[in-house]
């Protein structure tokens, strides 16, 4: 892959510790961004290309999804994926990573997520050890080497002592990367601000070191279940993709692809029944994963054709609320 070549081309950053050269492609100066060549090998040629390559990974996108992913890769913008639970938001990011041969870096959001978990942290213990080692060396050697405070400071705030967290490692990765920021609606509104610099400039500012820019721009996916409105600032920086429940046709294809041993007729029927259920006024509509569970259940039970009896026996795989089950049974005429 060409990506490994581009990685070597990236000049060592100005803060690269000479001895510990292991960490390649560190803090790349801005100029190398052009040399790195955007998203390099993994980028897509057209929306149709996106569809084809995603399908090869087992993810069946519709035209909308492919078009937005293509646009994102062309415009180098993050994608904010919103939609009901279980419609394949996280799966999309994973599949794009596979399709482009990129590394997937995932940041799972939760309440209380902060800078030191999302961006970077200084390795305090190692820094302490470093200072102590300095003192020991000083004491043992005969001639007292004058070690100025500033040199130690410069030393311990160098890259060697930096602990990368997902956002920083996505920025610094020399190889093509897909960054997945999962369930971004779980962090507090204020914490969202951590993401803004990364999302718009693809850089991270570390006061002690300077600004770390991405050598190759990662594809970024943010997912949200819509439990709260995200800030305007965040939304403005992203392309927006609403992942709704799939059309019956797409769902049928998904079922056929993911459930081995299912007949076309059964898959068709499953997709249509689920579609009808989603048209009802229920508390929680069945998600794709629940559809798949149901299809698997039917296959395992050896049911080739869904009738009233088999549906009422297995409906609890699709619907998880008592009131929903009652309502659906009534509407489908199972009583």
């Amino acid at each position: 892959m060409a990506s490994s070549g581009s990685r070597d081309n990236v000049p060592a950053g100005p803060f690269e510790p000479g001895a510990a050269g292991g960490a390649a492609a560190g803090v790349a100066p801005a100029a190398s961004r052009a040399a790195g060549g955007g998203r390099g090998n993994g980028s897509f040629g057209s929306a149709a290309d996106v569809s084809r390559r995603l399908e090869n990974t087992g993810y069946l996108p519709d035209d909308r999804i492919s078009a937005v992913v293509y646009l994102a890769s062309r415009l180098e913008k993050p994608v904010l994926v919103e939609g009901p639970a279980g419609t394949g938001k996280t799966e999309l990011a994973k599949s794009v990573a596979v399709a482009t041969g990129s590394r997937l870096i995932r940041l799972q959001c939760y309440e209380g997520l902060d800078e030191s978990k999302a961006l970077y942290e200084w390795n305090y213990r190692k820094q302490l050890l470093r200072i102590q080692a300095e003192r020991v060396a000083e004491a043992s050697s005969a001639q007292a080497v004058e070690v100025s405070w500033s040199s130690i400071e410069e030393d311990i705030f160098s890259e060697e002592f930096l602990l990368e967290r997902p956002l920083l490692s996505a920025i610094r990765a020399g190889e093509p990367t897909v960054l997945l920021v999962d369930e971004v609606d779980r962090v507090e509104l204020e914490t969202e601000a951590l993401l803004l610099e990364v999302l718009s400039e693809y850089q991270v500012s570390i006061p002690e070191i300077g600004t770390v820019r991405a050598s190759s721009i990662p594809m970024v996916f943010l997912t949200s279940n819509g439990t709260r409105e995200l800030s305007e600032a965040l939304k403005r920086r992203c392309l927006y993709l609403y992942l709704d429940y799939p059309s019956p046709d797409r769902e049928r294809r998904i079922v056929t692809a993911k459930v081995p041993g299912i007949s076309m007729e059964l898959a068709e029927q499953v997709a249509r029944i689920v579609q009808t259920l989603r048209g009802m006024d229920l508390k929680k509509h069945p998600s794709i994963s629940e559809t798949l569970d149901w299809a698997r259940t039917l296959v395992v039970l050896g049911i080739g054709f869904v009738d009233e009896a088999s549906t009422s026996a297995t409906l609890n795989v699709l619907l998880k609320y008592r009131s929903d089950l009652d309502k659906a049974a009534k509407e489908l005429g199972l009583e």
């Binding site: 062309r74 415009l75 919103e82 439990t227 403005r236 609403y242 029944i273 489908l332 199972l334």
Partner: protein
Amino acid sequence: MLDVLTGFVEELRAAGLEISITEAADAGRAVHEIDMSDRDALEVALGSTLVKSHAHWKVFKTVFEIYFARRHGAQIGAERTGSLEDDIRRELAGPVPSHAMSAGEYEPLTGTDGAIEALGELSEAELSDAALRALEADDEELVRLVASYAVSRYGGMQPGRPVGGVYYLYRTLRALQVEALEARLMEGELSRTSPSAGAIERRLARDAVKGRIERLRQAIESEIRRRLVADRGAKALAKSVRRPLITDVDVMHATAEELEEMRRVVRPLSRKLAVRLAKRHRHTRKGPLDFRATVRRSLSTGGVPVQPSFRAAKPAKPEIVVLADISGSVATFARFTLQLVHSVASHLRGVRSFVFVDGIDEVTKLIEGHEDVSDAVRRISTEADVMWVDGHSDYGHAFTVFLERWGECVGPKTTLMVLGDARNNYHASQSWVLAELSRRARAVYWLDPEPRAYWGTGDSIVAEYGAWCDAVVECRNLRQLEDFVGKLSEKGKVA
């Protein structure tokens, strides 16, 4: 194209979407990345850069339909020329799907000028048959063609009239006899399923037929829009079909369709509200300094209070009593409010709901007994005993009865919410009751679904009641309602 795009963004802004300059610029960049003749790709490009909330999608879709109306062969964004008649001709002369021609059904359409004449010979029954075939085949192209013809024949569109096209839509649908079409489609669908088909199969067939009829309706609608655009230009039309976002629609004046949409919106709205409140309870600030515990703790550090200790904060959990007028004029507003309040009930100390017209009755049990709040709220009007004399709002009598029978449920921790337009039909106001309740309660709020400008006009005596309320709040739409309930359940007080 740039001009079209600017106008498009302007129109979206006018419709209530907040679109920043960056986003507009992104849209411009995105458009360059796609094949502009591909209308779907254009929709995705504009949609993903300009619309950042699913709730706004419908508005976007409508404006998109107007600014980038579908047409065969013609370039999008180009200025339309020619008369309406020419447009129809061009439309019908458009490419006909090859399989339709091979089936021999639409052969007359292939000739450029023969198209409209050939269709002109179709009798009503034949057109209806054509529609049926198109729907049965579920062929988008054919459905659009039929829609196009039906509009030119039945729509009775007159150029230059400043209308939104709803009238044309119903006219066309009626002339096409959509109900009959639906029945025939259903019949055909059922005849194809096996005779042993059970209830599920029938239900599936019904949903499939409904979906197709809906698509025909949409095709007709977009055809009418297309022609209106041709007639009056995108800008003028966009203005006349402009609808506010659903959360901004006046509940009092919403159409049946809008109410249905609101009903769908209220649930996610209340879920959001509940999540917000739950988060708040976990993150409440610490309470006041606990002096005793601080001194105690300081013993381990030689009497120096290194780490002060705080009391746990008591989350304010207000108790809410709702009095809702459910007489005709404000019934829907009361429903949404009750639904919203009860959906956050777990974050409150308690909710008791009363509904009244001229009599008053408690409905708390009725609402709580149901898993589905909206379902219960619908049943309230039939099961609660709210009529006393004539079924016209009588706030005075309702309040008096409330004080007599349930007066003691209002205490110093209670926040009282009264929902209604205070149109008392010139009955006695009995505002002393409200004064008494106000004395007992922590706070009294009046939510009036009428615009502020109408307050105090006619038989509205909101000012008289308002004198005894902590605040009279204008609550015309879902946005204001959500705002109010959110504030109330967080603090127990508003403002």
